[in-house]
């Protein structure tokens, strides 16, 4: 009943494949016996350009714009044994003052998953693992998984210190999934140490705070429901941090920081349209740390006991093969009880626009050849709430802030990216 291929059109291809397979077969067979059959390497190179009408974002972006927006990644992943996954990724990233880390180990984890019956899975992941929260957090440095050049900055901060703790943690994660028909429930729970050192200012609320954090590891959880592999999905995430701060200098007092951040994400994926919304609150409760606190209660609360609020609504439209358009409204309020920033501005002497940012974005994305894309977007922004104080010196100084920042500004960004898949397949490498 089986017929060998005899179509002359493909004979040369068949002959090449056969020769290639024969040549590599001893190596291939050994690789299969060792179980290293599915190891793959992937990488991406992305270069962005940023122009702003006022304020600086990712370097000196006013005037001629800035090219300080580079993201490179290289990863290797595979199964040495059927249910055991090994994966590691190194990233080089440069976004001027807001990311000067250059090379870093993004993730390096070992993952063991166990099927429970026909429809459930339990697993454990350990090492440097990506933090399980929200929709875009885990793979955010590859534009291939982002909906836009810049993720909504109200939640996925790129300019301020909260970025690095959002990325990954050294620790362990338990995960589970239960599926019945088109429905699935998922849950993840992480205990680990996020990268707090580069976020000391943000966590302590004290500029240039030197010292170290002690105390229990951070807990991060995410639970969700999805229908038809994500045609609809709903996620609840939460971060719970409780750290003591042990300062190196006498300017700062020893203290304690508690942070709790609940996060809700929802997404509907239709054939041509996707609609996404996320909502996040970050509550800080700090004791100690500050030798002196401002007399104004609103300004004091901003440092001691404050809750911020962030959300966005996003629509994506895939109007032609390889093309998509995006519209998004993204809002951040440094104080959830003071949306227009007026009370906080009075108390701190800073302009009102430092305490919110409302960003209306329109973007276009084109994958012009397989594994190549170009994306561009315009952000019309009211507020400077998530600007980097490193790229914009003076914005946190009541005497300088009005000259150093402008509350109404536009940001244009453009990014090219290439990704490669050199598949290592049973000892044969197929370059694509």
């Amino acid at each position: 009943m089986y017929t060998p291929i005899v179509n002359p059109q493909y004979q040369s291809g068949a002959a090449t494949a056969l020769a290639f397979a024969l040549l590599s077969h001893p190596l291939g067979a050994r690789a299969i016996d060792l179980g290293f059959g599915d190891f793959q390497a992937h990488g991406f190179l992305s270069q962005g350009y940023t122009y702003t009408s006022a304020n600086d974002f990712f370097g000196n972006s006013q005037g001629d714009g800035s090219l300080e927006f580079t993201e490179l990644g290289l990863n290797v992943l595979g199964h040495p044994f059927p249910n055991l996954l090994l994966a590691a990724q190194g990233i080089y990233r440069d976004t001027a003052g807001s990311d000067e880390e250059d090379f870093r180990l993004d993730y390096a984890n070992i993952d063991y998953s166990l099927p429970i019956g026909e429809s459930s899975t339990l697993g454990v992941r350990a090492g440097r693992v990506k933090n399980p929260f929200g929709l875009y957090s885990e793979a955010r440095d590859a534009i291939w998984t982002r909906p836009s050049v810049l993720l909504p900055q109200s939640i996925y901060f790129d300019g301020i210190g909260l970025r690095s703790p959002e990325l990954s943690s050294d620790g362990g994660l338990l995960y589970g999934r239960h599926q019945f028909g088109d429905h699935a429930f998922t849950a993840e729970f992480l205990v680990g140490e996020p990268q707090l050192q580069t976020a000391r200012d943000f966590i302590t609320g004290f500029p240039d705070a030197q010292g170290r954090f002690d105390g229990r590891p951070v807990f991060i959880g995410r639970a969700g429901y999805e229908w038809r592999e994500g045609r609809f999905r709903l996620l609840f995430s939460a971060v719970d941090l409780d750290k003591d701060f042990d300062p190196n200098s006498r300017d700062v007092l020893p203290g304690n920081i508690k942070l709790f951040a609940p996060w809700v994400s929802a997404q509907v994926n239709l054939e041509e349209w996707s609609f996404t919304a996320e909502y996040l609150r970050i509550s800080f409760d700090r004791t100690g740390i500050f030798p002196a606190l401002p007399p104004d209660p609103t300004a004091r609360n901003l440092l001691v006991d404050n809750t911020s609020e962030s959300y966005y609504l996003q629509a994506q439209y895939r109007f032609a093969p390889g093309w998509s358009a995006l519209a998004r409204y993204d809002a951040f309020f440094a104080n959830a009880d003071d949306h227009d920033g007026s009370a906080t501005a009075r108390g701190t002497g800073l302009p009102r626009h430092r305490f919110f940012a409302k960003d209306l974005t329109f973007g276009l994305r084109w994958e012009f050849v397989e594994n190549w894309l170009v994306a561009a977007e315009d952000h019309n922004i009211d507020g400077t709430g998530w600007l980097s104080p490193i790229d914009n010196p003076g914005i946190n100084d009541p005497l300088l802030a009005r000259g150093a920042s402008d509350g109404h500004w536009d940001l244009f960004t453009l990014m090219f990216s290439y990704r490669f898949y050199p598949f290592v397949c049973n000892g044969r490498t197929i370059h694509r």
Binding site: M1, Y107, E138, A139, N269, R318, F423
Partner: protein
């Protein structure tokens, strides 16, 4: 050759009438020896897309749940198994996602990309 085939469980898919050549050519170019053997018979008369699991005779048919588990990379228990797919914009890939898996092709791509860049899974090999 059959021994090689048995150890390299291949899940690809084809349109039994129209897309076979395209799928086959790509598999051959990718050096996938097992697809040199091809079932010919009454099944080739229909034009539905179905997964190719090596042989209609030795492997039982997979239901939608099992196929989703395979293509969304939740089932990885084959020690020496590989999952092969066609490029995203290939008409067969689009039909397979919609008609067999009941999802949109970009859902597969986004799941695979997230896996790769977050270190949580190994996506199928594109041939």
């Amino acid at each position: 050759m059959s021994g090689f085939y048995l150890r390299t469980k291949c899940v690809a898919y084809l349109d039994a009438r129209r897309g076979r050549r395209a799928a086959l050519a790509r598999c051959l170019l990718g050096g996938l020896l097992p697809l040199l053997l091809w079932p010919a018979g009454p099944a080739s008369a229909d034009s539905t897309v179905r997964p190719y699991t090596g042989s209609n005779h030795s492997n039982p048919p997979l239901d939608r749940g099992q196929l989703r588990a395979i293509f969304f990379v939740r089932q990885t228990k084959w020690a020496d198994g590989r999952v092969f797919v066609l490029p995203d914009r290939h008409p067969l890939n689009i039909r397979f996602a919609k008609e067999v898996l009941g999802v949109y092709p970009y859902q597969l791509r986004s799941t695979w990309d997230r896996m790769v860049y977050s270190g949580t899974g190994v996506p199928p090999t594109v041939v």
